[in-house]
């Protein structure tokens, strides 16, 4: 028995799966593939332009330009590291403890360690994509601004980012195993997630920036802001080592000093730490993963649903609503319960909108309310559109896949004594109400904190309702027009043609809305009627198209 070969066999397996997935692309419509490619390239190019323009602006602010660009680099890598830790932890949890592949592999004569490491590589693979998507345009824009030779520079960044991503993935995996070991039951994990969300929101609410006294000069603004981003330069952070190393190499030939030695030193610090973390990973893979997996299995078997005193009564009220229909209300109850019982779903929602809430509550500390009306209005519109962008991602993540996620249960919809019209209406109403409850108070709060006139705040908040209608209508309509009943994975559903087209449509609509709100400084009944009518049309048309497509489907 050659147990040592198992990891390589598992790697071969994953490569074959990947190859087959690409092979499957050939069976998809060329329009779908083209849309995806154009969207990806367009988004990458858009990011490049954004970074380039920002760097050029900073570069022009002599003598602070280079400092600002360096600060951006530290902040980017710090943010990436935190995001990688979270995403690899979540990904490791689902792939190590929830994936049906693990029990299958366990029945084969494979060592626990090999299973742990193949899952680590999977985590690494999934984490690497967003990193590439952000860092490639960032580093190219950085290289051009700094006039670094673009030949070796991307390679150099790759050499630094490889151990950086691996280190984050290893820590994330270790974190997932330790968390499940400490919190083997779902109930405890749910409580821990809630506590963590509370701590994050409390932390952000407490870390209020100092009021920037000297807004007249860039040096005044910098001296006010920079101390608040100094945490990204904490010398024990891997993001610090990667940034210092890349910055040192990028300055060779332009500045004097031991830049070469510095670059190599920080690379070795990063690399040696990555190698070091292989030791606890091996230990966990060999011993702790097995014990934790089996412990989680034991606890999973006795999970008992407890009645939620807070959610149950309102859900029951829906039974008595006569419209659109009682069977549709049954779907409504099912959708709400399914959402509420999945901690990974609602925790994302709380984090996204919780952070927005904290940001809006802090607006006064930025002293934006003392700015001229024109600037206040611009900030208000940007905040409003920003809130809708978050809402759009919520709508795409939760509302669009709702119908597709019925999956193999789609026959229930087909067999149920409920018309497709009332079913879609149910999903549309649910999405709109939840969207409005989440966003309208935020838009109102943003206006109040900026001390915008109440008339304008009220006008924009009321318009927000129609924006919710438009975004939800688009999501439900596209979900019905492009359903994917084969997949149980929301990410996979979103990445299809329907999801890509929806994203583009959402962004075009929000861009149009933003430009319109910026252009219209005075609120009138006519403006209100124009935007609300356009939004209703944008929301209802795809809903109608989706409905007629659903009627033609065979289940």
């Amino acid at each position: 028995m050659k147990a040592t070969c198992h990891l390589s066999i598992l790697i071969q397996l994953k490569l074959t799966e990947l190859k087959n997935s690409f092979r499957r692309l050939r069976t998809r419509s060329p329009l779908e593939v083209l849309t995806l490619v154009v969207f990806l390239l367009g988004a990458g190019f858009g990011l490049f332009i954004l970074f380039s323009k920002s760097f050029q602006f900073f570069q022009g602010q002599k003598p602070f330009g280079p400092i600002l660009i360096d600060e951006c680099f530290y902040l980017l890598n710090f943010t990436l590291f935190v995001m990688l830790l979270i995403s690899s932890g979540v990904s490791a949890y689902s792939s190590l403890f929830k994936s049906p592949e693990v029990p299958f592999l366990l029945t084969q004569n494979i060592r626990w360690n090999d299973i742990y490491f193949i899952k680590l590589l999977e985590t690494l693979w999934f984490s690497a994509w967003p990193i590439l998507f952000i860092t490639i345009p960032f580093t190219i824009a950085f290289g051009i601004t700094r006039s670094v030779s673009l030949g070796p520079f991307p390679f150099l960044c790759f050499v630094f980012y490889l151990p950086f991503v691996l280190l984050a993935a290893m820590i994330g995996n270790l974190g997932a195993v330790f968390s499940v070991w400490l919190l083997p039951t779902k109930a405890r994990r749910k409580a821990a997630i809630l506590a963590l969300v509370g701590v994050i929101i409390y932390f952000f609410a407490r870390t209020q920036p100092e009021i920037i006294r000297e807004q007249g000069s860039l040096s005044g603004i910098l001296s006010g802001y920079l101390p608040h981003v100094a945490f990204a330069k904490f010398p024990l952070l891997p993001s610090y080592w990667a940034t210092r190393g890349i910055l040192a190499f990028s300055q060779i030939g332009k500045q004097t000093g031991d830049l070469w030695e510095q670059g190599v030193f920080y690379f070795l610090v990063l690399f040696s730490n990555t190698l070091f973390f292989l030791i606890p990973s091996m230990g966990v893979g060999n011993r702790m993963f097995a014990a934790t997996f089996l412990r989680a299995q034991d606890c999973g078997e006795i999970a008992v649903k407890r009645k939620n005193r807070f959610v149950q009564p309102p859900v029951r009220w829906f039974d008595h609503l006569p419209w659109p229909s009682r069977p549709a209300m049954a779907f409504l109850e099912k959708d709400i319960k399914t959402f509420m019982r999945d901690a990974s779903e609602w925790s994302q929602l709380i984090i996204f909108f919780g952070l927005l809430l904290v940001y809006f509550l802090n607006l006064k500390n930025f002293e934006f309310h003392v700015l001229k009306d024109m600037w206040k209005n611009i900030i208000f519109v940007l905040n409003t559109v920003g809130t809708y962008v978050v809402l759009s991602s919520f709508s795409m993540r939760f509302v669009f896949p709702m119908l597709s996620l019925e999956g193999s249960r789609a026959w229930i919809i087909a067999m149920a004594p409920v018309s497709f019209a009332s079913l879609l209406l149910e999903k549309f109403l649910l999405g709109t109400v939840v969207s409005a409850v989440l966003t309208l108070p935020l838009v109102y709060l943003s206006g109040c904190m900026l001390e915008i006139g109440m008339r304008k705040v009220f006008f924009t908040t009321c318009l927000g309702f129609f924006v919710c209608v438009a975004l939800t209508g688009l999501s439900v309509g596209f979900g019905a027009r492009f359903p994917d009943f084969k997949s149980n994975n929301p990410s996979q559903i979103i990445s299809g043609l329907g999801g890509s087209l929806l994203l583009v449509t959402h962004l075009i609509y929000l861009l149009g809305l933003g430009v319109f709100l910026l252009a219209v400084q005075h609120q009138s009944a006519l403006t209100f009627a124009m935007i609300s009518a356009a939004s209703l049309l944008v929301g209802m048309l795809p809903l109608k198209l989706g409905m007629s497509h659903l009627k033609k489907l065979e289940f």
């Binding site: 028995m1 050659k2 147990a3 070969c5 198992h6 066999i9 071969q12 397996l13 074959t16 799966e17 087959n20 997935s21 499957r24 049906p100 592949e101 029990p103 299958f104 366990l106 029945t107 084969q108 004569n109 494979i110 060592r111 089996l294 299995q297 034991d298 606890c299 078997e301 006795i302 084969k486």
Partner: protein
């Protein structure tokens, strides 16, 4: 060949398996019967190493499953009630993958794989991705893969679900052939006529304990009954 001693499994305070002791000899076709929640799947999962016993021991082919899991698993194959398949692989790739896990040489994988895929009527679709398959075809792909290394112990949880009548007949014949060659086949089922037809020996589990065990004839003698298995099962479980 399989020695189970005082096997217990607790989930918190709930005792799912309450001290099962069994010995199964090579060439036996052994059926686990019992109502839902009786402890069958927990017992089978412990035999496959997917659950850790609270106490007791399992020896497979002389290897302690707890102390030498890899050696025990190398002669074992387990097909769960809802089996996992790699949807992005073809059945041929899936078989090759499992064959490699058991360190089979390429010629053996080729020969044995072709034989199994032909037996389960998947040869013509060997290059189609499994995600395109019906439930029954996926089940056949799993069964083929589980037999590629000629396991000495073959454990199946509700193996016939999804198979068409012709495949069920062929698979029954295959199981009998395997037992004649010395393989231990253990399966759980709710289809009592299937157990009656196939099993050399059977146990009925209820509330985590064995309430009856033996061959059909032994059971009839023991309970002084001329009933078929279904009637006997209902009487025992309702007690």
């Amino acid at each position: 060949m399989i020695e189970i001693k005082n096997l217990k499994k607790n989930y918190g305070k709930k005792e799912a398996v309450k001290g099962i002791t069994l010995s199964i000899q090579p060439g036996e076709l052994f059926a686990f019967l019992g109502p839902n929640g009786a402890g069958k799947t927990s017992t089978l999962k412990m035999l496959a190493g997917l659950l850790r016993p609270t106490s007791g021991s399992i020896h497979i082919g002389g290897y302690d499953l707890n102390k030498e899991p890899l050696k025990a698993k190398s002669i074992l194959s387990f097909v769960p009630d809802i089996p996992y398949v790699y949807e992005k692989l073809t059945p041929w790739e899936f078989l090759r993958f499992v064959g490699k896990l058991y360190s089979l040489d390429p010629q053996t994988i080729q020969k044995k794989g072709e034989e199994l895929l032909r037996f389960f009527e998947l040869w013509d679709v060997r290059d189609v991705l499994i995600e395109e398959f019906s439930h029954g075809m996926k089940q056949k792909a799993v069964l083929s893969a589980s037999l590629i290394h000629d396991p000495k112990v073959f454990i199946l949880d509700e193996p016939m679900v999804g198979l068409d009548p012709v495949s069920i007949r062929s698979f029954k014949d295959l199981l009998k052939k395997k037992t004649r060659e010395g393989t231990i086949v253990i399966f759980s089922t709710h289809t009592l006529p299937l157990a009656e037809e196939l099993a050399d020996r059977l146990v009925i589990i209820d509330h985590g304990q064995i309430i009856a065990s033996g061959t059909m004839d032994e059971l009839r003698t023991k309970y002084a009954s001329r009933e078929n298995l279904e009637q006997m099962f209902l009487r025992l479980v309702e007690k």
